[in-house]
Amino acid sequence: MRTPKVRQHPLIIRITHWVNFIALGIMVMSGLQIYNASPVIPIDFDFPKSVTLGGWLQGGRQWHFLGMWLFAINGVVWVVYNILSKHGRMTTIFSKKDFGGLLPMIQYYLRIRKKHPPVRKYNALQKAAYTSVPFIALGAVLTGVSIYWPVQFGWVTRLFGNYDTARLWHFLFMSALVLFVAGHLFMVAISGWNNFTSIITGYKRVEEV
């Protein structure tokens, strides 16, 4: 008998997820291409060709300034949907009542607690992660604006110190996003095929309890 399926990810979440996958890939790889023209970290290191995009400085800039629109607009759609929709507020946005769920999940991951606490779609730790990562993305966008338009949006640049320090902050926000993706991929890998396909099909098979 086929196991029953539950609706896990609405279409808009699946679309924005994969658009973000492409946009973030473009932004990080073309960003590393730009980095190579004049490394912001004062060490003798260039990112290898395999992780860069564009082939040369202006090629990287062209990809970066195309990807920025995709990344920013897609991000706004994701955030607005999650705030306005019942689905987002119930399953994804971290709220006051999720504080109580944090400790049991930490205990579960540390193997102190045997049984997975009951959850809808995301547990409290996941909600915390998916609610905080947009702020990191916002930091990446704002530091990006601050070095793309340091005169027109000079007040944004001053939020991060000056042009040079804003450039360093831009690199750090990117690094934080890459770390998030690494953790995300690890969790996806250990959660199995059934969980992974749900971000494509929208549905997830439920196991018999």
Partner: protein, 239 residues
């Protein structure tokens, strides 16, 4: 999240799925530099140029730094691109002005330096990513354009240099109150490697718009190119 269902965990498929991600990127290397991609990116660059022009507010000023915030003079650098310094005949140097101006002709340093002198500590942002804050001294470009009677309703100003360099600007950025014709840096006459005898300092644009060793200004309505612009770099290049 529910605990992983062991029966669904076919290790092979999980591994192959993880391998798909880098494979996608490696496959990407081919089409990302293809002809069609290049022309699409170039087209999108025109859009960003247009956005930059719309966003540009001539009233917005670049930060003018205090002397304590200057880049030390020993770190006053030139771009990483290998350029040969041209032989400038500094005593006989003149700036040729033509195009949509009332008084075209050759202007000597003596004539140019009759204009009010300004000293400003402004950030120079190179397209490569590095930046510096030198102390510039010179005259305002807008004062000079007024002196030669340039048509302020013309669209562009282009510049030619003592080497093979050339570039151009929109009129609004050229008339910006912080755009300088600089003949001094750090209180001393401009060194040859920094564009002596006269260079442009345009803090509202990327560094490659701040031309060195300038020899000719042309006021025009036909959109001019530039050395780097003709090699793919942004035409507007606003900051």
């Amino acid at each position: 999240m529910t605990p992983p269902d062991k029966s669904q965990n076919v290790p092979g498929s999980r591994r192959s799925f993880i391998a798909v991600l880098p494979a996608l990127f490696l496959a990407g290397c081919d089409w990302t530099t293809g002809k069609r991609t290049k022309s699409a990116l170039k087209g999108f660059q025109q859009f960003n140029d247009w956005v930059q022009q719309k966003v540009f507010d001539p009233g917005k000023l670049a930060t003018e730094y205090a002397d304590e915030q200057l880049t030390p003079e020993e770190d006053f650098r030139v771009n990483g691109y290998d350029t040969d310094e041209p032989d400038m005949d500094i005593p006989n140097w003149v700036l040729m002005v033509d195009g949509l101006v009332r008084s075209p002709g050759d202007y000597s340093m003596e004539q140019i330096s009759t204009l009010p002198k300004y000293v400003k500590n402004l950030r120079h942002c190179c397209v490569e990513g590095w930046s510096m804050v030198p102390k510039w001294g010179g005259v305002l470009m807008k004062d000079f354009l007024a002196m030669v009677g340039a048509d302020p309703n013309a669209k562009y100003v282009s510049v030619e240099c003592g080497d093979d360099y050339y570039t151009a600007w929109d009129m609004a950025s050229t008339l910006h109150s912080q755009t300088l014709l600089a003949y001094e840096a750090y209180g001393k006459p401009l060194g040859l490697e920094h564009g002596a005898p006269l260079r442009v300092v345009m803090p509202v644009k990327l560094g490659y718009k701040s031309a060195k060793w300038i020899t000719r200004l042309t006021v025009t309505n036909e959109k001019p190119g530039g050395y780097w612009e003709d090699r793919g770099y942004d035409w507007f290049a606003g900051l």
